[in-house]
C-alpha cells in the first residue's frame, strides 16, 4: 500500500523547473502534488503524479537525474491537529520521518499527506493501527 514519488535533481538555475514541467506536460502526465527542497546550489523536486512510469521516462529522456521513491500517502482530517495526530502515530514507534508534505485534495473534507520513512512496513502498521486510511497508488492517481 505504498505510492511512488518521482524525485528529480535540479540545479538552481533559472528555467530548469519549467523544463521539468514541460517534459511532463509533453508526456501527458498530470501532477498531483509537489514539493521542492533546496540548497544554495541545487534542489530536489519531489512529485506525485498520475502516471509515475511515464513521468520517469519522459524526465530521463529530457536528461534529468530521476529516481522513484516509495512513499506513504494517507488521508487526514482537514482541521487543526489533523497532521499532529498522524505524525504522533509514527514517531511514537520510534520511526524517523525523513520528510513529508501535505496537500488538500478534492476528496471532500480530507487533506492528503505524503510521508518518506525508511521503515515502510513498520510505518504502515503504525498508521493502520491508528485507524488512518492509506491511499493506494491508484487512488492517488485518481484524485
Amino acid at each position: 500500500m505504498t505510492a511512488i514519488q518521482i524525485s528529480v535533481f535540479l540545479e538552481n538555475k533559472s528555467g530548469r523547473l519549467a523544463e521539468v514541467l514541460r517534459a511532463l506536460a509533453g508526456a501527458g502526465v498530470n501532477i498531483r502534488a509537489l514539493s521542492l527542497a533546496e540548497t544554495i546550489d541545487y534542489g530536489v523536486l519531489r512529485l506525485i503524479v498520475d502516471k509515475p512510469h511515464e513521468a520517469r521516462k519522459a524526465l530521463g529522456d529530457a536528461g534529468f537525474t530521476v529516481s522513484e521513491t516509495e512513499v506513504i500517502a494517507v488521508e487526514m482530517p482537514d482541521r487543526p491537529g489533523g497532521l499532529a495526530g498522524i505524525v504522533d502515530l509514527v514517531t511514537e514507534k520510534g520511526l524517523n520521518i525523513e520528510y513529508l508534505y501535505a496537500f488538500v485534495g478534492r476528496r471532500g473534507e480530507n487533506a492528503i499527506v505524503v510521508f518518506r520513512i525508511d521503515e515502510v512496513a513498520a510505518a504502515l502498521a503504525a498508521l493502520q493501527g491508528g485507524g488512518v486510511r492509506i491511499l493506494s497508488a491508484d487512488e492517488l492517481a485518481a484524485i
Binding site: S7, F9, R16, A37, Y42, V44, G63, V66, S67, R116
Partner: protein, 440 residues
C-alpha cells in the same frame, strides 16, 4: 644597472660565456658517469638509448641523452633514483604525483648547501642583504617553498621570520612590529596580505617592506602591478620545482624582464614537447633541466611540463646566465592551486573512491579579485548516487570535500550539478576550466 646591480655571487652569475659552457660540459660529463654507476634505473635508460658515459663529452652531446620524467620517479618510488647511500641523505621533500604516489626528492648535506646558495642568489638579486628582515610566508613542510627560502635567507645572514602560511592578521602585525623588509610567499597570498592589511588600516607605503619574492603559482605582469601598488614593494617572480631543487632554479632581477637560470647547476633546454627535438632559439617549448651538481638526486634532461622560452638577449643587469620567460602554461593538465600541485586524475581517483564509479566532473579554477586561488569541483549527479533525501546528497558532497582535503591537503568547494551540464568538446569532457587571469 650593470656592475652596481645587487647580486649574491658575482663570479657565478656574471661568468664569462665560454667559461660557463666549459664548466657545464665538465659537470655534465661527470654527472652522466656518476648516475651510470650509482643509479641502476639510469644505467638501464642509458643502455636502452645506446649511450655510454664516454659518449658524452660535453654540452654538444646532451641531445643523445634520454629524457627523465615524473614517471621515472614514480616507477622508482620512493628512493630508487637516489645516487647516494641513504646515510648521506639529510632531507626528504615530496610533492604530489599524477596519481596516488607523490614525487619524492632527497638532499645530501652538500645539496642543502647548494640549494641555500641558489636561493641566496635569488634573494640577493632583489637586493636582500644581512640587515634585512625576511618574512617567509611560504608553507614549511613537505613543500619545498618554506625551507628553501629559509635557508637562502639565512645564508645571506638576514633575519628570517618563519611565519609560514596563514593567520594573515598576525602576519601583518609581525610585518609592522618587526619591520619586515623582505616578503616571501605566493603571489595570491601577497594580494591577500594587501587586502587584509588595508582593512586593518595599514599603510604599506609607510612600512619598510622593500621587495617580495613570489612563486609556486602562475601569475602575470598585471598581477605584479596590483601587488606592487598594494604593498609598495618590488614584486619579483621566482621559479623552481622540487624535482630539480625546489625554489632557486630561476629568479628575476630588478629589471623584471625574465627569470635568470642558475645554469651552473641547472642546465636549461627548451624542446618541442611533441617530438622531443630542441625548439628553435627563442621559441616557446617545454622546459627541460639537467641537475648535474646534485648529489642525492641528479637528473638528466628532466621534463618539467612547464612551457616557456629562453630569452636570447643578455639582460640589462649584465648577468651572463640566461633568462627564461615567465612560465606561460603546462604541457599536461597539472594545476597549481595555492602552491599545491593538482592533477585531474587525482580528483578522479577520489571521486571513484567515494562514489564507487567515476562520475563526470569538471574542475573550475578561479582567482577571486584580490584573493587566493579557489578550486571548485563540479560533480554530475548520476542516478546511482542521487537520493531524494538532501542530507544524503550533502553527505556525499562533504565526503568528496574531506577526501580531497586529506589526500591533497587542499580545501576545495564541491558542487553537485545536473548530468550533461558539463561542457564537452568533441564528445570528450573538458576537465579543467581555468578562469584565472594569467595573461602575460
Amino acid at each position: 644597472m650593470g656592475s652596481d646591480t645587487p647580486c649574491w655571487n658575482r663570479e657565478a652569475e656574471f661568468m664569462e660565456g665560454a667559461r660557463l659552457r666549459a664548466l657545464q660540459s665538465e659537470r655534465l660529463r661527470e654527472c652522466v658517469k656518476r648516475v651510470y654507476e650509482k643509479v641502476p634505473h639510469y644505467r638501464r635508460k642509458l643502455a636502452a638509448a645506446g649511450v655510454k658515459p664516454a659518449d658524452i663529452q660535453g654540452l654538444d652531446d646532451i641531445g643523445r641523452l634520454p629524457f627523465t620524467s615524473k614517471d621515472d620517479l614514480r616507477d622508482t618510488y620512493p628512493f630508487g633514483m637516489f645516487a647516494v647511500p641513504m646515510e648521506e641523505i639529510v632531507r626528504i621533500h615530496a610533492s604530489s604525483g599524477t596519481t596516488g604516489k607523490s614525487t619524492v626528492v632527497g638532499y645530501t648535506r652538500a645539496d642543502v648547501a647548494m640549494w641555500a646558495e641558489v636561493m641566496a642568489r635569488t634573494l640577493g638579486a632583489g637586493g636582500t642583504h644581512s640587515a634585512d628582515f625576511v618574512q617567509n610566508s611560504y608553507g614549511y613542510g613537505l613543500f619545498t617553498g618554506g625551507l628553501g627560502a629559509h635557508y637562502g635567507a639565512e645564508l645571506i645572514g638576514a633575519k628570517v621570520i618563519p611565519t609560514s602560511g596563514g593567520q594573515t592578521k598576525r602576519q601583518i602585525q609581525i610585518m609592522q612590529d618587526f619591520g619586515t623588509t623582505v616578503l616571501c610567499c605566493t603571489p595570491s597570498y601577497a594580494l591577500v596580505i594587501g587586502e587584509e592589511g588595508k582593512e586593518m588600516g595599514v599603510e604599506f607605503a609607510k612600512l619598510p617592506l622593500r621587495v617580495g619574492f613570489f612563486g609556486a603559482e602562475p601569475w602575470s605582469d598585471s598581477m605584479r602591478g596590483e601587488i606592487e601598488a598594494a604593498l609598495h614593494c618590488h614584486a619579483l617572480d621566482i621559479y623552481g620545482l622540487s624535482e630539480i631543487i625546489g625554489p632557486g632554479v630561476g629568479f628575476e632581477c630588478l629589471e623584471k624582464s625574465g627569470l635568470h637560470i642558475n645554469e651552473d647547476h641547472f642546465y636549461p633546454e627548451v624542446i618541442n614537447p611533441g617530438t622531443g627535438e630542441p625548439a628553435p632559439d627563442g621559441e616557446l617549448g617545454e622546459l627541460v633541466f639537467t641537475a648535474f651538481t646534485k648529489e642525492a638526486l641528479p637528473l638528466l634532461r628532466y621534463r618539467t611540463r612547464d612551457i616557456s622560452r629562453v630569452i636570447p638577449e643578455q639582460c640589462a643587469c649584465g648577468r651572463t646566465v640566461r633568462r627564461i620567460e615567465r612560465v606561460t602554461g603546462r604541457t599536461d593538465d597539472m594545476l597549481i592551486i595555492r602552491g599545491v600541485n593538482v592533477f585531474p586524475s587525482q580528483i578522479e581517483e577520489i571521486l571513484m573512491r567515494v562514489e564507487g564509479t567515476t562520475p563526470n566532473y569538471v574542475l573550475i579554477v578561479d582567482r577571486k579579485p584580490r584573493g587566493l586561488d579557489e578550486l571548485e569541483v563540479q560533480v554530475e549527479v548520476s542516478e546511482q548516487v542521487f537520493s531524494d533525501e538532501m542530507s544524503k546528497l550533502e553527505t556525499l558532497a562533504g565526503r568528496v570535500r574531506t577526501e580531497i582535503d586529506s589526500t591533497l591537503g587542499l580545501r576545495v568547494a564541491v558542487r553537485l550539478v545536473e548530468p550533461k551540464s558539463i561542457e564537452r568538446s568533441a564528445g570528450k569532457a573538458k576537465r579543467v576550466v581555468d578562469r584565472r587571469d594569467l595573461g602575460r
